[in-house]
Structures are given as structure tokens and as C-alpha cells.
């Protein structure tokens, strides 16, 4: 009896034991996570993902490409705009940048670095997936590779303008070990090497992208790559290349100036015939898809006695210096700057869509960036109630191609610089100029592209950043402030391999 009990019980036990130990029991795939191995079509999706990386605007966090940090270093730092908002708001990091008091721990200098390398990482991942893809035809693959390389070239162009020497990362980190130890990630390549890589990427893009747009809008095409390449050559003062490339873009007849300068930055002109390269926003998942804080940071802010539901935080305010840069009658002035009514008649400032910004007694600052304005009344958004609305940021317009062409033409003594400049002056309702000089072109660049994230880098390119900035009363030190500091935290992570820019 007892023996039988033992027998039965033991048998049951053994059975239970065996049942609970199947080999496959521990092979549990990740739930809800796709990998390149599980879906080969994802290579294509990764290309779009590189574009999506351009929307990074986590300026106080993981990375910024075109957000508030980008606004700060391209516009607020320049003589075109002041920090704005209230005096005490965001003194660090924005006020420091505006006044050139920033140090190597400046958060925005750090997040711009991270944001760009995040995007470059996404681009390298896409390139790797594309080269391994077995489902795409070579032609399609080439098209995608060219788009990604265009974006990577553009990102490095921003990096080299911000930091000078930077690590040149053209492959993905294989794994954690590689990321931590491979000197590629912690060694700054020379500025010349970075430019060589940028030119290689953009050249490849220019050669492999179609003239005609592959997708309806927004994707990089041949003209985008050629125009960006021309700008890169302009920074290298390779005027012949600038001249030839811009001529190709002009004669491709793919682009034209739109008639109304004031409407350039409105939703109706997203991906207009004038748009060469533009950051695409929209509606996604029933929410605003945007560069975080791009519009809300620049929206007119309540102040004084208040009394209205304002549009934003009031940063990036056009300076008097910029206002004075316009010739009398220049239509572009009132298209670029929202002037707050300070006359005492309390009539406020009506905007193009009928919205009236109150007068100066209820508004924090006297001038705001009109190009960052979004209309709740006349434009459509997934969530118009949100003050932070989508805005396609125009990175390069056909007008700039004309300006580059003109500048190269003057340097080379060929072409028709007057004609190019006068196309823009005519649109701005100004009288034509003849015999334009480099200074004329620089002036024209300033007002044509005002508040479009070009001014600071352009001054550095022109070699007169110190002169102009100091004249506008900023604590700009020549030989230091042309570049941002390499983020201190990144230097610490490099184990001493990364060096700092001069003066920081």
C-alpha cells in the first residue's frame, strides 16, 4: 500500500517536472518589437526615419536639430534678433548664447550636438539596412541612399558650422563595445576632412537623385542636393563650383520665386516652387507633428497689463538693428517682423489672417518673428488649440540660390549678378540696382533671408562676425565665438580624446 502510494506520487511528480521544462519555454520573442530581420521592408521606412529626425526639438533633453536650440544659435546669437521674452526668462542657456557668455556646459550647445549625431546615427543605420536589403532594386536603393546621404551631408554641414572640427561618423556603431571604444566616435576630424565628406555625400546625392521630384513634395531631389552643395562650396569660397551648380539649378527650371514674399512662410506656400529644402511637419496620429517649441517659443507673449491669451513665449525678437537694415519701402520688413503697436492708439497690430495682436501695454516685447507665426484662423492643424503648431521650416529657398549665384558671379566677374539681385528687389518693391558689389549682396542676403536661420553663420563665413557683432554691442570674442563649445559632457565621455574649441 505504502509502496503504491510512493509509486503514484513519484510518478505524478516526475510528470509535472517534465511538463514544466520544455526547451522552447524560454524562447520568448520580444513582444511588439520589430527588427530589420523580421521585416526587410523596414529599410525603406528607415529612410523616412532620417527625415523624421530633422524634427528633433528636445532642446533641454536628448537632442535638437531644428528646435529652440537651433533658433538660439542661428538667430538669437546673431545681430538680427534678441533673446526676447522677459528679461529673466531662460537667461541660461539662451541669454548666455545671445550675449556670448556661454560655457562648455551650455545645454543648447549640448543638445544640438546630440540631435545632429542622433540623426546621423539614424542615417547610418538606414544606409546599412539599405545596403543589406535584398528586396529593393538597385535603382530604388540608389535613390534612397542618395536621399539619406543628402541629409547626412546637410547635418554635417550644420555641425561643421557650429563646432568646426567634429568626429566624422559614417558607419553605425556595431554594438556597445564599439560605441565605447572605437576612436572614430571620439576623435575630431579636421574641418577639411569633414567638408570632404560633406561634399562626397552631397555630390553622390546630386548625381543620383532625379531632377523631377520622386515624391510629390519634401523629398530631396537633384536641385536640393546641388543647391546645398553650392552653399557648401560657398563656405569654402570655391566660387566656380558655386556658380556652376547654382546655374544648373536655375536652368533646370524646376524652381521659381513666388510672387508674394509675405506669404512665403505660410501654410499655403509649404513646398512652394521656391522651396529648395524644407522641414516637413503636419498631422500625425491626430496630433500636431512639429518641431517641438519652434512656433510656441517665438509666439508673441503677454506682458504689461496682459488681458489676452497670448501666442507663445516671446523669444527670438527682431532687433532694431535688423529693422534699420531695410531700405525704405522694402515689403520684406513688414513680412518678416510683427511690429507691436506702441503708438498709444491701442489699436493693436492686425496680422494677415485678421488676428489682432494687442498693443504694447499688453504685450511683452515690441517685435516678433512673423515667419514663425501660425494662423489658428486661416491654417489647418490637427490641434489648433495647441499654441505649439506645425510650421515647415524653410531651410533653403530659390532666392538663396539666386543670391549665391550673384555672389559667385561677382567674385568670378561673369554671369549676371545684377539680374539675380533685382529679381529679389523687384519682388520687394525696391528699385533695381546695377553694378552690385559683394557688400550689396551681403546686405540683400541679410534682408531677404532675415530670421531664416542663416545670419550668424553667414557673418562667420564672411569673416566679419566679430566686427558686426561687436558693433551691435555683443561680447563677441574673435577667434572664440565663431564656434560653439564642444559639450563638456561629451569631452568627459571621450576619455580625453576630444579637445575643446579655442577660448572655452
Amino acid at each position: 500500500m505504502t509502496m503504491r502510494k510512493i509509486y503514484i506520487a513519484s510518478l505524478t511528480f516526475v510528470l509535472l517536472t517534465v511538463l514544466s521544462c520544455k526547451d522552447s519555454f524560454l524562447d520568448v520573442p520580444v513582444q511588439g518589437g520589430v527588427t530589420i530581420d523580421s521585416d526587410p521592408n523596414l529599410a525603406q521606412s528607415l529612410v523616412g526615419g532620417v527625415y523624421a529626425g530633422l524634427l528633433q526639438g528636445d532642446s533641454w533633453g536628448d537632442g535638437d536639430v531644428h528646435g529652440f536650440a537651433f533658433i538660439s544659435v542661428t538667430s538669437i546669437m546673431s545681430d538680427d534678433a534678441d533673446k526676447g521674452s522677459t528679461a529673466s526668462d531662460q537667461l541660461n542657456p539662451v541669454g548666455d548664447l545671445d550675449d556670448f557668455n556661454h560655457t562648455s556646459t551650455n545645454k543648447f550647445a549640448e543638445t544640438l550636438w546630440s540631435g545632429h549625431y542622433n540623426s546621423i546615427g539614424a542615417a547610418n543605420q538606414a544606409l546599412k539596412a539599405l545596403s543589406n536589403s535584398t528586396v529593393l532594386t538597385d535603382a530604388v536603393k540608389n535613390q534612397y541612399v542618395a536621399e539619406v546621404r543628402f541629409l547626412r551631408g546637410y547635418l554635417y554641414f550644420n555641425l561643421v558650422r557650429m563646432y568646426g572640427k567634429v568626429p566624422l561618423v559614417l558607419n553605425v556603431a556595431k554594438d556597445a563595445e564599439d560605441a565605447a571604444t572605437n576612436p572614430v566616435f571620439a576623435t575630431r576630424a579636421s574641418v577639411a576632412d569633414v567638408y570632404t565628406a560633406i561634399i562626397a555625400d552631397l555630390q553622390f546625392a546630386a548625381e543620383n537623385l532625379d531632377v523631377a521630384l520622386l515624391a510629390p513634395h519634401g523629398h530631396a531631389n537633384k536641385g536640393t542636393a546641388q543647391s546645398m552643395l553650392a552653399k557648401v562650396y560657398m563656405y569654402q569660397q570655391n566660387w566656380q563650383q558655386v556658380f556652376d551648380l547654382t546655374n544648373e539649378v536655375i536652368t533646370s527650371n524646376q524652381y521659381s520665386l513666388i510672387a508674394d514674399y509675405a506669404s512665403l512662410w505660410r501654410q499655403s506656400e509649404d513646398f512652394s516652387p521656391e522651396s529648395i529644402f524644407e522641414i516637413g511637419t503636419g498631422k500625425f496620429n491626430n496630433a500636431n507633428l512639429k518641431i517641438d517649441n519652434y512656433t510656441v517659443s517665438q509666439g508673441p507673449r503677454t506682458g504689461g497689463s496682459g488681458g489676452w491669451d497670448d501666442l507663445g513665449w516671446g523669444f527670438n525678437d527682431p532687433t532694431v538693428n535688423l529693422v534699420n537694415a531695410y531700405e525704405p519701402g522694402d515689403l520684406r520688413k513688414n513680412a518678416t517682423i510683427i511690429f507691436i503697436n506702441n503708438s498709444g492708439d491701442h489699436k493693436g497690430t492686425p496680422l494677415w489672417d485678421g488676428f489682432r495682436v494687442p498693443s504694447s501695454d499688453s504685450v511683452q516685447n515690441l517685435r516678433y518673428n512673423y515667419k514663425a507665426y501660425t494662423s489658428k484662423l486661416k491654417e489647418t492643424f490637427a490641434n489648433a488649440a495647441d499654441k505649439d503648431r506645425p510650421k515647415n521650416v524653410r531651410i533653403m529657398r530659390y532666392a538663396e540660390v539666386l543670391l549665391m549665384n550673384a555672389e559667385a558671379a561677382v567674385h568670378l566677374g561673369q554671369g549676371d549678378p545684377d539680374g539675380k539681385i533685382n529679381l529679389l528687389r523687384d519682388r520687394a518693391d525696391l528699385t533695381p540696382k546695377s553694378g552690385v558689389t559683394i557688400d550689396d549682396i551681403w546686405q540683400e542676403r541679410r534682408v531677404e533671408l532675415a530670421m531664416e536661420h542663416d545670419r550668424f553663420w553667414d557673418l562667420v563665413r564672411q569673416g566679419r562676425a566679430a566686427e558686426v557683432m561687436q558693433a551691435s554691442g555683443k561680447h563677441f570674442q574673435q577667434g572664440k565665438h565663431e564656434l560653439l563649445p564642444v559639450p563638456n559632457s561629451e569631452i568627459q565621455l571621450s576619455g580625453g580624446l576630444l579637445d575643446q574649441n579655442p577660448g572655452y
Binding site: T2, K5, I8, S10, T12, F13, F25, V28, Q31, G33, V34, I36, D39, L46, G49, V50, L54, L55, D62, G63, S88, N92, S104, T105, K107, S114, Y117, G121, N124, Q125, V169, A176, E177, A180, T181, F185, P216, Q267, D270, F271, G280, T281, K283, F284, N286, A287, L289, K290, T302, G303, G307, W308, E379, F381, A385, N392, P487, N488, S489, E490
Partner: protein
């Protein structure tokens, strides 16, 4: 003498005859009462089972060891049984009405039995470091979880809690032994493995056993690295039905408040800092006063239990309600427990241990993605910063702090949302136990833990206009209302099968355990959100929102574990003890090559007092030395840590800003494909002793444990393309070395006064031994200009504060100019009244490279002192807890990012001025200061955790009622704290690299409560 005895006997005999006679004469229901005492020391024994032999009827002795029972005429004998004592049957045919029973201790059972995981062991035979706390000691305190109640009771176990209702305290056993993986101890509730016991009613707990060292925890293998807490819940006892009701009802308040500057002080300070006085207003707002209120807490427990020799039952119903000290914040919990056991035959036993919990957390979180650390602190932080010159709430409108200084109105922070987390949790196990022969036990147990929670967040619509605010403007607004709902379901099952062989061969006793376990976990979450839902709570369903604003998302997780375990216990005559365990663990969370790992342990013990040569000494009643080695692991890592995934749904608008965009993928993580478990190896040695008839008992324990491959998020070079710049890797080595001392004195004065004093202290030294090529971890970001405040580096404790060193305050501009390094003035932009920082690296600049270590949040010593006493019908208990040698970072003070933010009263008065040129505190400033030792202060504190006074009503009173016991008590939790730190609390939970920072902490609360314990 002989004569007297005989005379006594004779009288008794006569009395007996008389009683017999009367019994015969009145053969009817009769009552027997009496008391039960310990045969050796004659102390009363409460809780002894008194069962009428041959029936299921019975009772138990009360707190004084007394009982009363009614007998039918044919019922002639009572059985008295109690754990640790020999069962005694007393013949009551003689119709005694009063009997006194002396229960003799069972020498076999005398020793406490400790649940050690997949089995039990006599405490005297244990060779690892364990501790045991009785449920009644835990239940005495008016707190939510048993973990909290354990604070200060056990050497080597540090409990860190916040005052937030419904929050689960942190538990650190023998120091911080991981940096980024799970830090929670493993809880085993009736065999079910979990990491959260907020669903367990403390009143349901019989005892808690804590497996502290690796040799004790090794039976849990890869789950044991953070220690194991085994919870055993109550079961019914054979005997009559027992009903008891306990409650406590009390008030709460913040144990300590920070005094902020009032309007006048604030205005003076701002004037001094900015040169301009802030706008004068008629307001003088106390923001902390505005957002807090007196809290209220109540707890009720009803227990019904009973059973027969064949079946026992227990039903416990518990209700807890905590109204937090923060407005709008509350927590409610209902628990039901049903524990059943059936002895079907002499060799077969089945049982069910089950609990249902329903909890409702109101505004304990900032959003529906429940963060265990809570996130309502935004209001606390805003209350610290908001200017007192702004109104809080006047005539239905809020003061506009954000328009004034870009800080949310703290009251509106609390009122502009409604976040409710309602959880149902069904947890339990069912088992079958077969004993085919006396020395073999086969047991199979299936446990389950089903959790289902519905998290609802409603965010009100309001504009920065004059409908909401007294003055319009600012950034605190919500243009559209939003309802977000998240539904979470998880299910975990664990199936244990064990066989235990126990056999004695002469003086050799062997216990061999072998078994397997399998465990699986599945989690699913679904989120939905819509805008434009109306403010009436009856409308808070997604369908009432704007369909064009719909958003939804869902995630899942699934993993499995499989293990084989075995343990051998051997003892020779209770003198020489050996425990050896081996567990082989497999986890689906790890890549194939690293999937299986073996965790061995061995422990030996020597009970000296059982040796012949110790029999002639009378110093030690008990003396034991033991030592052990063990290896355990920590596999609390994300399931997908080693898989490179494509992150989907990153949108980009190729169609214009007014049109619908497309979603794309990004590979955002660089991964380490060779991730493996964290492995902890620990050596432990101890002496246990009992002196003076065991009145003084104690234990001294040394330990040295090392984690060889702690998984940490390595800050990745941003250039490597990892979007959050951190990669999970096994690179860090951490050591915890320490000493634990436990002493208990049980004393008596006369027959009516008895007391126990128990003290424990733990000295722990934590150190990062190696980073192995990894980067030291920067942590403790509090934003603004203080990106990080801690560094976990070689030779330092994990999460050490790493800040600039202040070396005084500049008194004049000349001082600034005179503070020069190799490149001229070191702080050229400083002014009089600014801090002078040490240029540690001597490069002539002040930057992050000048930071120095400034201590750690980890205490060097933590200790508890517990005192309890009984005098006549009164009982008294006092519990004190404290720690020494830890530092805290005053993050709320450091995060002053707007020049118009308020400051503490003490900052106003103690500040540097040209008249008061102290060198400790800076002059009036506009914030945005650098991370420095100014914000680091001692976190040492001592606190009276609990004082309880009770009174048990005597039988003379009970006899007139239907009650069997009745006690009333008053208790106070967190009565008084002695601390150096000026903030709310020095007790600041957080992750290993991000702890001890007071930024938006829910302060610890003080509770004063009264209650009753009633038995029917």
C-alpha cells in the same frame, strides 16, 4: 511538610468529590474557564488553541493566556495546543470550572521555525543570515505596507519611504548592490513571486522572513540579489470560529514644513537681488499652506477564522483609506483574503491561499503611465518657487504665477487634472502536498498574480485669461481638455514542484530538497486619448471626445523563467550544521548563450552550547557561530535589452503642415548583445548568542558582497547615434561590506511588568570597485544649470554627490579681481556676494572639471531601537529609527531657475550682505547657481517611528459582554524627527544613481490614530 501535603490533597479530594457531585446533580451545559502558562517560566501564553476533544469546537486563549469555553454534558476533555509546545489534553469530567494548564515546551519544536524558501527550517539550524518579524508587530503601525512597518526592526534592511498615500517604500538590503537594474527585494507571498506588496493587508500576515545574504537567498538564484522577503499569511486554526475586528483612525500632517519667505521678506530679497522691488500687491500667500491640508487615515480589518482537524478556513476583510496631506490626493484599498486548507487523508493535503485587492489612487501620479515614484511633486516644487506676492485663489480665480515668473500656480497644478488609478489584483496559490511516507513530502504549487488596472487622466481646459486667472497671461493653460485612459493587464503564474526528504540516522539528520519551477509573465497595456471631453466626470469616457483628436497606443511584454533547485541540510546532533544549495536558472530575457547560469551556496554552523565542553559553563545559554558563501543574481532587466529594434511611428510631413504626415522607423539604440545577469557573490560570518537565561540574546554579523557585473546605462558618446545616449552594459563592480549588530533584552520586574528592548545597527560601506572600461555614471540631474549632481566612480559610493566646492563668498569687487588663476581672474563675471568656487584642477576657470566628491546618500550607519512593555493591562511600544553619515542634496533650492522665484525664510535672513559678510551663504541672487556643496547637507536623522499605548480590558469587564477580548489603543507614527537637514525630509527614495535629492518630494507625514482590537 508531608503532613501538609497530605492535608492539601485531602481537601482537594473533598472538593473534587463535591464538584463531581454537583456536576452529576446539574448535568447540563457548563462553562470551564482558566488560564494557560508556560511550564518553565510561568508566563501567560496567548493564542493557545483550546479544542473540545472529539469536536471541532474550540477557542483560543486571550492576551493574558485566559480562556472560557462552554461544554455539553458529554464533553469531557480539552486539548491545548500551541506551536512550540507539547499538546496537552486535560480531563474535565470532574467538572472543574476553573483549570490551570502548564504547557511544556516541545524541545523538538521549541525553536522558531523559519520559512526559508521552498521549505522551513529551525532557526537554530540556519547557517545564513535571516531575520524574522511577526505579523502582529507589523500590524501595530498605521501604515500601508508591511515593508514600511519593517523600518528599523531588522538589521541590514534599510527602508526608505515617502509620505505619499499608496506609495510603496524602497527596500535596500545590505546596501546598494546594483546601479540601474531592479533594486527591489523579491517578495514571495505564499509562494507567489512579486515585487510589490501594496496589495497585501498587513493584518493578514503571520510573519515575514527576510533572507539577507546570498547563501540564504541562493535558493532563489537569479532573483535573490536584492534579498528576499518571504511573507506567510494567516491560516485558520482548528477549533471554534473566531471573529475579530481591528481598526485605527487618525489624522496626518507633514512631519516637517519648510518655511518660505513671506511677501515682505520676498520683496526685500528680490530688491536686493535684482535692484528692483517686485510689484507691490495686497497678497501674502503661504503656498505650502495653500496646497496642503490635514490628512486623514483609517483602517478596518475583520477576520473570521476557524476549522476542524480536517479543514481550516480564514476570511479577512480589510479596508484602508488615506486622505493625503496634499489637496485632491487620496488612496483607498479594499482587501479580501480567503485561505483554506483541507487534510483529505493522513497523507494528502490541499490548500488555497488567495487575496483580492482593489485599490484606488486619486491624483497620486502626474499621468496615466504610473511611475512608481509618483509625479505629483510638480506642485511641491512650484509651491517652493511661487512668489508670495501672487494670490493663490481669490473669488474663484487663480493668482497668475506663470505670468509673473513662469512658474505654475501650485494650487492649479493640483486642480487642473484628475488622475485616478484603479487596480484590481487577484493573487494567490493553490497547492497539493503528498506525504506517502513520513519522511517524504511531495508538493506542487501553482501561484498566480493577475493585475488589472484602469488609469484615467482628465486634464481640464482653461485659458490663461481672466476667467481662470486674476490677471491673464503666462504659460499655464490648457487650450483643450483631454481624457487619457490606460488599461493595463498583467498575469504571472509560477509553478513549483518540490520533493523534500527528511530522515534521521541516529544523531545525523538530513533534509534534501529538490525541485523545479517555471514562471511566465505577460503584460499588455492599451492607451486611448481624446480632446474636448467635458468637465463633468460623468462624461469621462472617450466617446464624448472629439474623434478627430483620437490617439491610441498599446504595448506588451512577456518573459519566462525556468529553474532547477536543490538544497541539502545536514545537522549532527544540532551541533554541526551544513546547508548547501544549488539553483540553475534560465531566463528568456537573456540571449541564448548567457541564458543559463548556476547559483551555488554553502553555509556551515557550529552550535557550541551543545558541545560537552560547554555544559559546565553558565555564561552562554546559546552560542553559535556560522559562516556562508553564496552567489545570487539580478535579472531585473528590460525584456528587449539585447534586441536591436526598429522604433516605429516617427512622423514626417511630406505633404505640407496642414496635411497628414507619414510614419517611419528609426533604429535609436545601440545595444550590447552580450548582456547577462548581474552576479553577486557574498561571504557572511556571524556569532549568535543567548546569555542570562536567554534574557539577553544577540547576533553579530559580518558580510562582504560584491557585484561583479552590474548592468548600468553607460552614458554613450552622443556621436555613436544612440538617441538617449545610454547603453545598457555589464561593466560595474560594486562592493558592500558591513557589520550588523542585534541585541535584545527581555526583562521583568515583579509579576506585572515585563519589557523587551531590542536594538540593531548596521554599518555599511558601499564602493564602486571598478568600471571596467565603462564611464563613471553622471546622475541626479535637476535641470537648468545643474545637469548632473552625482557621479558613480571608482572608489566612491554609488551615486556620490559630485559638485563644486565653495570656498567662501566674495565680499567686494576687489575680492573678485584678486581671485586669480593662471589666466587672470578665475570668476571674472562674479559680483560681491557671489560664491567663490575652488578651482580644483587649477586651470584658471570654474567648470565641471573642478567638481569634488561631497558624500553620498547612503548612510554609513542605520539603526533601530524598539522597546515594548506590559504593565498590568497596559501595553506600550516605542520604535526609533535613524541613520547617520548620509548626505542629501537640496535640489528644490538649487533649481531656482527664474530670478523672481521665492526663497526660504532662512535664505533671506542668513544671506551674505555687505553688513553680514558671512562666508557660508551667498548674497541675494537671481538663481541659476552652479551645483555646489552649498546644496549638500547632512542627511543624518533620528526619528520616533511609532509610539503605541494600549489597554486591554479585564475579564471582569468582558464577562459582562459577548466579547472575548477588547483592547483600545492610541498610536502615533513618525512622532518626532531629529535632523540637521533644513528640507522636508532627509528620507529621499530614488534610483541608485539618483537618490537623496530633494526636488519635488512628498514629505513624510506624521499620523496620530486611535483604534480598537476586538475579539468575539
Amino acid at each position: 511538610m508531608r503532613f501538609r501535603m497530605r492535608k492539601l490533597l485531602l481537601i482537594n479530594l473533598l472538593g473534587l468529590i463535591g464538584v463531581l457531585w454537583s456536576a452529576t446533580a446539574f448535568a447540563q451545559v457548563r462553562t470551564v474557564e482558566g488560564s494557560v502558562v508556560d511550564a518553565t517560566d510561568k508566563t501567560a501564553l496567548p493564542g493557545v488553541n483550546v479544542v473540545i476533544s472529539g469536536t471541532n469546537k474550540g477557542t483560543a486563549t486571550d492576551g493574558d493566556g485566559k480562556f472560557r469555553i462552554e461544554l455539553q454534558p458529554n464533553e469531557n476533555s480539552l486539548a491545548f495546543s500551541f506551536i512550540g509546545y507539547q499538546t496537552q489534553t486535560v480531563d474535565v469530567t470532574n467538572a472543574q470550572t476553573v483549570i490551570y494548564v502548564d504547557l511544556a515546551p516541545d524541545t523538538q519544536q521549541l525553536q522558531e521555525v523559519i520559512v526559508v524558501g521552498y521549505g522551513e527550517q529551525k532557526k537554530s539550524d540556519i547557517t545564513g543570515a535571516t531575520a524574522n518579524i511577526k505579523g502582529e508587530e507589523l500590524a501595530r503601525q498605521p501604515v500601508l505596507t508591511a515593508t514600511q512597518a519593517m523600518q528599523g526592526k531588522v538589521a541590514g534592511v534599510q527602508i526608505i519611504s515617502s509620505g505619499q498615500p499608496g506609495s510603496s517604500p524602497q527596500i535596500r538590503i545590505r546596501g546598494v548592490s546594483t546601479a540601474l537594474s531592479g533594486t527591489t527585494a523579491l517578495y514571495v507571498v505564499d509562494g507567489v513571486l512579486t515585487d510589490d506588496i501594496t496589495n497585501i493587508n498587513t493584518a493578514d500576515i503571520v510573519d515575514m522572513n527576510i533572507l539577507k545574504d546570498a547563501s540564504a537567498a541562493a535558493i532563489y538564484g537569479s532573483r535573490g540579489a536584492n534579498g528576499v522577503v518571504i511573507i506567510t499569511t494567516k491560516k485558520g486554526q482548528a477549533g471554534g470560529i473566531k471573529v475579530s475586528y481591528n481598526n485605527n483612525i487618525g489624522f496626518r500632517q507633514a512631519a516637517n514644513m519648510v518655511k518660505m519667505a513671506n511677501a515682505r521678506e520676498y520683496s526685500n530679497y528680490i530688491q536686493a537681488a535684482t535692484g528692483a522691488a517686485p510689484a507691490q500687491t495686497p497678497y501674502d500667500t503661504d503656498w505650502y499652506g495653500t496646497i496642503t491640508r490635514p490628512g486623514f487615515a483609517q483602517q478596518h480589518n475583520l477576520s473570521i477564522s476557524g476549522g476542524t482537524e480536517k479543514a481550516t478556513h480564514l476570511l479577512n476583510i480589510g479596508y484602508l483609506n488615506e486622505k493625503g496631506i496634499l489637496k485632491n490626493n487620496s488612496f483607498r484599498r479594499l482587501t479580501l483574503r480567503l485561505n483554506e486548507e483541507y487534510k483529505l487523508t493522513s497523507w494528502l493535503k490541499v490548500g488555497l491561499l488567495s487575496s483580492y485587492g482593489n485599490s484606488d489612487n486619486q491624483n497620486g501620479f502626474g499621468n496615466v503611465d504610473v511611475d512608481p515614484n509618483g509625479a505629483i511633486g510638480g506642485a511641491y516644487n512650484d509651491a517652493y518657487r511661487a512668489a508670495p506676492t501672487v494670490a493663490n485663489y481669490v473669488d474663484g480665480r487663480y493668482g497668475n504665477t506663470s505670468g509673473y515668473q513662469n512658474v505654475g500656480n501650485p494650487l492649479l497644478d493640483l486642480m487642473d487634472n484628475d488622475i485616478r488609478v484603479n487596480e484590481n489584483r487577484l493573487q494567490g496559490s493553490t497547492y497539493i502536498e503528498v506525504k506517502p511516507v513520513s519522511w517524504i513530502t511531495l508538493r506542487s504549487s501553482i501561484g498566480g498574480d493577475f493585475r488589472n488596472s484602469l488609469n484615467r487622466g482628465y486634464f481640464y481646459q482653461f485659458n490663461a485669461d481672466q476667467n481662470t486667472f486674476l490677471i491673464s497671461g503666462g504659460n499655464q493653460y490648457s487650450n483643450v481638455s483631454n481624457l487619457t485612459v490606460k488599461s493595463i493587464q498583467s498575469f504571472r503564474w509560477v509553478w513549483d514542484n518540490t520533493v523534500t526528504l527528511n530522515k534521521k540516522f541516529g544523531l545525523h539528520e538530513f533534509t534534501l530538497l529538490a525541485g523545479t519551477t517555471a514562471e511566465q509573465y505577460h503584460y499588455q497595456a492599451l492607451t486611448g486619448s481624446r480632446n474636448g471631453v467635458g468637465p463633468d466626470p460623468n462624461l469621462w469616457y472617450l466617446t464624448t471626445g472629439n474623434a478627430n483628436s483620437s490617439q491610441n497606443d498599446g504595448t506588451g511584454d512577456k518573459w519566462a523563467r525556468n529553474s532547477y533547485l536543490t538544497r541539502l541540510n545536514y545537522n549532527y546532533d544540532g551541533r554541526y550544521l551544513l546547508t548547501a544549495t544549488l539553483r540553475r536558472d534560465g531566463s528568456s530575457r537573456l540571449p541564448g548563450a548567457n541564458r543559463w547560469q548556476i547559483y551555488p551556496s554553502v553555509g556551515v554552523g557550529w552550535m557550541l552550547t551543545r558541545e560537552g565542553f560547554m555544559q559546565n559553563q553558565n555564561i552562554f545559554d546559546m552560542l553559535k557561530i556560522r559562516g556562508s558563501y553564496g552567489k545570487v543574481g539580478n535579472d531585473q532587466i528590460p525584456t528587449d535589452a539585447y534586441t536591436s529594434k526598429v522604433d516605429l511611428n516617427h512622423g514626417y510631413g511630406f505633404n505640407g503642415s496642414g496635411n497628414t504626415a507619414d510614419g517611419f522607423g528609426q533604429i535609436r539604440q545601440v545595444i550590447d548583445p552580450s548582456i547577462t545577469w548581474e552576479t553577486t557573490v557574498e561571504y557572511d560570518g556571524a556569532v549568535e548568542f543567548g546569555l542570562l537565561q536567554n534574557r539577553l540574546t544577540g547576533e553579530v554579523n559580518f558580510y562582504d558582497k560584491r557585484v561583479n557585473n552590474a548592468l548600468i546605462d553607460i552614458n554613450s558618446r552622443r556621436t555613436a547615434g544612440d538617441f538617449d545616449h545610454s547603453i545598457f552594459r555589464n561593466v560595474m563592480e560594486i562592493q558592500n561590506r558591513g557589520l550588523e549588530i542585534l541585541l535584545t533584552w527581555k526583562g521583568k520586574a515583579g509579576n506585572e511588568f515585563s519589557y523587551t528592548i531590542s536594538g540593531n545597527a548596521t554599518f555599511n560601506q558601499n564602493k564602486v570597485l571598478a568600471l571596467n572600461g565603462g564611464q563613471a555614471i553622471l546622475g541626479g540631474s535637476i535641470g537648468a544649470s545643474q545637469n548632473f549632481t552625482t557621479l558613480s566612480d571608482n572608489g566612491q559610493p554609488v551615486g556620490s554627490f559630485y559638485v563644486l566646492k565653495t570656498i567662501g563668498v566674495f565680499n567686494t569687487g576687489a575680492d573678485v579681481a584678486n581671485y586669480v588663476g593662471k589666466e587672470g581672474p578665475i570668476q571674472p563675471t562674479a559680483h560681491a556676494g557671489d560664491f567663490k568656487y575652488q578651482d580644483t584642477n587649477g586651470d584658471g576657470h570654474i567648470d565641471d572639471n573642478d567638481r569634488v566628491f561631497a558624500g553620498s546618500y547612503q548612510p554609513k550607519v542605520y539603526m533601530g531601537l524598539n522597546f515594548s512593555a506590559n504593565y498590568k493591562a497596559f501595553d506600550f511600544a516605542l520604535a526609533i529609527y535613524g541613520n547617520l553619515g548620509n548626505q542629501v542634496y537640496n535640489g528644490k533650492r538649487a533649481v531656482r531657475i527664474n530670478g523672481l522665484d521665492n526663497v526660504e525664510k532662512s535664505v533671506v535672513y542668513d544671506r551674505w550682505t555687505s553688513q553680514n559678510q558671512n562666508q557660508k551663504n551667498p548674497g541675494a541672487n537671481t538663481g541659476n547657481q552652479l551645483a555646489s556643496d552649498y546644496y549638500v547637507s547632512s542627511g543624518s536623522f533620528a526619528r520616533i517611528n511609532n509610539i503605541t499605548v494600549g489597554y486591554t480590558f479585564p475579564d471582569s469587564f468582558l464577562n459582562r459582554t459577548r466579547l472575548t477580548s477588547f483592547r483600545v489603543f492610541a498610536t502615533s507614527q513618525n512622532t518626532f524627527t531629529l535632523k540637521k537637514y533644513s528640507g522636508f525630509t532627509a528620507e529621499l527614495p530614488g534610483s541608485p544613481t539618483n537618490s537623496g535629492i530633494e526636488l519635488s518630494t512628498y514629505p513624510t507625514t506624521r499620523t496620530i490614530a486611535v483604534g480598537v482590537n476586538v475579539g468575539f
